[in-house]
């Protein structure tokens, strides 16, 4: 593991350059690049409840490493609940319950005795409304999770802060004043700060729960542009109610629906191109063409 970490650190700058040139190639064949990639995380028969009320029913899916997967569906279909099962945040809701298996690199995160805090160091989350820590500066915000990893030396912290902010496309805008309070930034900048904070701890997977829904269109576009670069290093799962966004940024898309009394089902899951141009389920087709939701 130590080797992986140092190699990541050494690769930061050259990788950024590679990322730029790879973007064009990636756009040309969105599904092809990830077709043979290993599985990052897979869900098997996942269901979730709030007390007696079931919100997610029996979802199974496999998500490939370094892909961007979008979860779409009408509001209330359980997408947020489902994604919160992936980093064990759902269990904070009152009377919450999860059944099923979620395998991260082959190990079940819900296995008996697994510490949720450790899961969350491997699977990060960016929330709908940007939530930078108000009592901390920009640099302190990004470095917030580093202490859990034992990163002590000031220089290493500084390096990681810089590389995270660069990956989140925020470095140029804030590099002159990293001591400014995190909440002094604009909404879009705050969200990129939260992204930087999340990737600073180098998780395997980054979950994003409607990260742009509280932002203006310009800020939204900036974050969408990040996705390709982030996917080089992380596996991204993004919940979005914006279909165009899903079509723009994701490699694969999953459509969820609460239908015929069964809440939170997975209706269809396919490479994005296929799902949007040739949906197999009528309900998917109806949703995409705007007939409901």
């Amino acid at each position: 593991m130590t080797e992986v970490q140092t190699s990541r650190k050494a690769d930061t700058l050259p990788r950024l350059g590679a990322m730029m040139t790879q973007t064009a190639a990636a756009e040309a064949a969105p599904g092809a690049e990830t077709a043979d990639a290993p599985i990052a995380i897979s869900a098997r028969n996942v269901s979730a409840w709030y007390g007696a009320k079931q919100a997610v029913t029996n979802i199974s899916m496999e998500i490939r490493k370094n892909s961007v997967t979008a979860l779409i569906g009408p509001s209330g279909c359980g997408k947020s609940t489902y994604i919160r099962c992936f980093n064990r945040m759902h269990e904070f809701a009152p009377n919450a319950r999860v059944e099923g298996t979620i395998l991260l690199e082959g190990a079940d995160i819900y296995a008996h005795g697994i510490d949720p805090a450790r899961v969350r160091q491997r699977i990060g989350m960016v929330f709908q409304k940007p939530n930078p820590f108000p009592t901390m500066s920009i640099a302190e915000n990004v470095a917030a999770g580093l202490r859990f990893m034992g990163v002590r030396s000031k220089s290493e912290i500084g390096d990681r802060v810089e590389s995270s902010l660069k990956l989140a496309a925020l470095w140029d805008e804030v590099k002159d004043d990293l001591k400014k309070p995190g909440i002094a930034l604009s909404g879009g900048q705050q969200q990129r700060l939260c992204i930087a904070r999340t990737i600073a701890v180098e998780p395997e997977v980054v979950l994003m729960d409607e990260p742009c829904s509280a932002l203006d269109p310009v800020a939204t576009l900036k974050i969408e542009d990040l996705m390709r670069g982030l996917a080089e290093r992380y596996t991204i799962i993004i919940v979005t109610h914006n279909m165009q966004q899903a079509a723009r940024v994701s490699d694969s898309t999953a459509f969820m629906l609460s239908d015929e009394g069964v809440t939170g089902q997975l209706i269809e899951y396919a490479p994005t191109q296929d799902l949007f141009t040739n949906p197999k389920d009528k309900r998917t087709e109806d949703y995409i063409s705007g007939r409901f939701g």
Partner: protein, 294 residues
């Protein structure tokens, strides 16, 4: 507690992780210890009130006057009646002023002047009761030349006002705007609206406030020491010094006689029992004692 084979080894941070987990467990333990430290004194006090107080209860305690110091027996009839009279008078004086202030703040006070008044009331709530007693001493006792139950009631009323005024304002503000608008739309004047519509709607909450204030001043002794003084005899003359339960508990607690100590416990039991009954019925009727207004 087994340390399971955590599949995602975090390399150099294994030791750190165990330390972090240990700190988390220690602090959780500290919190539980704190809860114990907070709750144990309460149980001890209640326990001793029952243990020492109940044996001292007797009919004569309620019906007889105190014997001369040193002679066991007797009762505290004068103190019980005195407390009842003075608390009653304090309510009579304080409640109208407090509710009036509460109405002023809710109807006219959403501005700078209201801000000042509200601030004064908040500060008034924190004034030591002994200084209130001395204030009334100078205001009334010195001028009249003698201690009196009236002076005692005035000092209790001053303590009562901030408590009831704050709650009244909160309760009045909780009444939905739509109710007031409906009344105004019918052509009713302001005072009619408040007195006939708003106040009755907020009444349950205001009564809560009054009961809470009552239970607070029932136990006050410091202000009474210099205003109503005390009286070893039964009297209902409000212009004369009057005895009260808290004050008699104070005298008996520091006295040399065992029977005084027993009666002090018994009186404390009665006092706390009354306060608890009031507090419990308020809670049963209206839920938690803290309300948050957005």
């Amino acid at each position: 507690m087994t340390t399971p084979n955590q599949p995602w080894a975090l390399g150099r941070t294994e030791g750190l992780y165990l330390r972090r987990k240990a700190v988390d467990r220690i602090m959780t333990g500290a919190m539980i210890v704190a809860v114990a430290l907070a709750v144990i004194p309460l149980f001890l006090i209640l326990f001793y009130l029952l243990k020492e107080g109940i044996p001292g209860l007797s009919l004569s305690l309620f019906t007889d006057e105190p014997n001369r110091p040193g002679k066991p027996g007797g009762g505290v009839h004068n103190a019980i009646v005195g407390s009842a009279i003075m608390v009653g008078m304090a309510l009579a004086i304080g409640v109208p002023v407090a509710i009036g202030t509460g109405i002023f703040l809710s109807e006219y006070g959403q501005n700078r002047i209201g801000g000042y008044v509200r601030f004064v009331i908040e500060v008034m709530a924190g004034i030591p009761s002994i200084t209130v007693g001395l204030f009334v001493y100078g205001l009334i006792v010195l001028r009249q030349g003698h201690f009196s139950a009236i002076a005692g009631s005035v000092s209790l009323a001053i303590l009562l006002i901030p408590i009831i005024a704050r709650i009244t304002e909160e309760m009045l503000l909780l009444v939905p705007r739509s109710l007031r608008e409906a009344s105004y739309a019918l052509g009713a004047s302001r005072w009619r609206t408040v007195l006939r519509i708003v106040l009755p709607t907020a009444l349950p909450g205001i009564i809560t406030g009054v009961m809470l204030g009552l239970s607070r001043i029932a136990g006050e002794a410091a202000p009474l020491l210099f205003t109503a003084l005390g009286n070893n005899f039964y009297t209902t003359d409000v212009t004369a010094p009057m005895d009260s339960l808290p004050r008699r508990i104070y005298i008996y607690a520091t006295g040399p006689y065992d029977y005084w100590h027993e009666q002090a416990w018994a009186m404390s039991f009665i006092l706390v029992a009354v306060i608890l009954v009031i507090s419990l019925s308020v809670r049963a009727l209206f839920g938690s004692r803290v309300t948050v207004r957005q």
